[in-house]
């Protein structure tokens, strides 16, 4: 079996991840931070380790302002719904995932003004276009670091600088880039970094977070209010980080897995992981482009994108391709619109969508070669599904 769906969730996980989760449940699976006994303290240490590792990986000095959520979606909702109110303007792009687009659509109904800046046909954003959309009422710029449809990278540092110049907050959706692209919140001018634990950080599903930078502190309303183990003499929700955004018992077993995933990333090195995935993407792009009838989306350059390679095959529906690839070559990939309707409109692939190959660290060049051959075989025999 060839697993090419790492953009949806990474699989397999490094051995240390399920091990850490098993150890957590078996040895000290108490409630982190609610009680004072040894098991609760040990559980707290595990969660704190995840905070420290995430802070370090993202160039974000302060573990106390790493807020854990159940995924990137919740982190983005916290950032967007927590910050924006009637009369505010927010700038985003057409390449965003629904986890940004839908909260913004919802907020539009509540008096927030939204600009969706169009990207190029390869998914790239021109910072000058974004700059033109900014007005005196703009409070926030929110962009994905890497597109989940075509992998195209956003010029984050440039936009971070622009946000500083215009005194805006900058929120980055790093769901597709965290763990595989270098991220330095301070150097890149990122105020809010939303990440998910289950993709290139190799944690389990149900983990994610929001790193809250200096300039964004105290500016987000919490999504949830409730127990935090702190300020227990009061029925008023606390206002300090991270407790103010972490009401309710955390997914501590999941965070034990995430801590192990983060340790794995640190040990391998983001640069080395990126180099491996870029090599696979380069091969895929080159191999698929050579096949008559195959159209590869995106920049065409592995350096300008993550290892997310989407394509269509003349004469086939993307869903038929995915099904045939699984049947004939046991390739697991994803076809369709990838929760990014505006991106597919921009790329000219709406409403059909595309086939997405997203190899990861555990894939090999041999698997890439097998996949290219499998696509070549299908392309040679159009099914006529699209007639």
């Amino acid at each position: 079996m060839i697993y090419f769906d790492n953009a949806a969730t990474s699989w397999p996980k490094p051995e240390a991840v399920p091990k850490a989760m098993g150890r957590f449940l078996g040895e000290h699976g108490a409630n982190p931070g609610r009680s004072g006994h040894a098991l609760s303290i040990q559980a707290g240490r595990v969660v704190f380790e995840a905070r420290e590792r995430a802070a370090r990986l993202f160039g974000h000095g302060d573990p106390m302002s790493v807020v854990f959520t159940k995924n990137a979606t919740e982190a983005l909702n916290l950032a967007l719904q927590g910050l924006l109110g009637p009369g505010d303007h927010v700038a985003t792009s057409t390449m965003e995932h629904n986890s940004v687009l839908r909260p913004l659509r919802f907020l539009e109904g509540r008096g927030v003004e939204v600009s969706r800046v169009p990207c190029g046909a390869d998914g790239s954003l021109d910072p000058a276009d974004l700059a033109r959309s900014v007005s005196v009422r703009t409070r926030l710029v929110v962009l994905s670091h890497a597109s989940n449809v075509v992998g195209t990278l956003c010029p984050i540092a440039e936009i971070g600088e622009l946000s500083r110049e215009r005194d805006l907050l900058f929120c980055v959706d790093a769901a597709q880039s965290a763990g595989v692209c270098p991220i330095d919140m301070a150097a890149m001018g990122i105020d809010l970094l939303a990440f998910t634990g289950h993709k290139s950080l190799y944690g389990p599903q149900g983990t994610g977070g929001l790193c809250v930078g200096e300039r964004a502190r105290g500016r987000l309303r919490p999504l949830l209010h409730g127990g935090t183990g702190s300020a227990s003499d009061s029925d008023v929700h606390p206002e300090f980080l991270p407790d103010c955004y972490e009401a309710g018992t955390l997914n501590a077993v999941g965070l034990a897995g995430l801590a192990a995933g983060l340790a794995f990333v640190e040990e391998k090195g983001v640069e080395a992981i990126r180099a491996h995935e870029t090599a696979l993407a380069a091969r895929l792009i080159a191999g698929l482009r050579e096949i008559p009838g195959v159209g590869v989306l995106g920049t065409g350059s592995a350096e300008r994108q993550t290892a997310v390679v989407s394509f269509n095959v003349a004469g086939w529906r993307c869903s038929e391709i995915a099904e045939a690839l699984e049947e004939r070559a046991a390739i697991c990939c994803r076809a369709g619109l990838h929760c990014a309707p505006l991106a597919h409109r921009q790329l000219g692939t709406f409403p059909e969508g595309a086939v997405r190959f997203s190899p990861g660290l555990f894939n090999t060049e041999t698997e890439v070669a097998v996949a290219i051959d499998a696509v070549r075989e299908l392309a040679a025999r159009p099914k006529g599904g699209l007639s």
Partner: protein, 79 residues
Amino acid sequence: MSSCEPEEGYGVALFRSVQGALGAERLLLAAGIAHKLIPVPRHISSNCGFCVRFAWADRDRVEHALAVADLGTERVMRL
């Protein structure tokens, strides 16, 4: 147990939340200052969770070590 008690007795550092106590543990480990995470004494604070206990003789070193980060330290006091 009391035979092990330091001459000047113990102090505790209390934090707004256990995250602060866990951060403090890291800093004290790095600074090589003996300490222990203990349940928050109920007569001192209504917070759930734990705080950091140390030998009161180390008070200055502890305060110095904790000053480098914003841990939400509420109080450092003699036990």
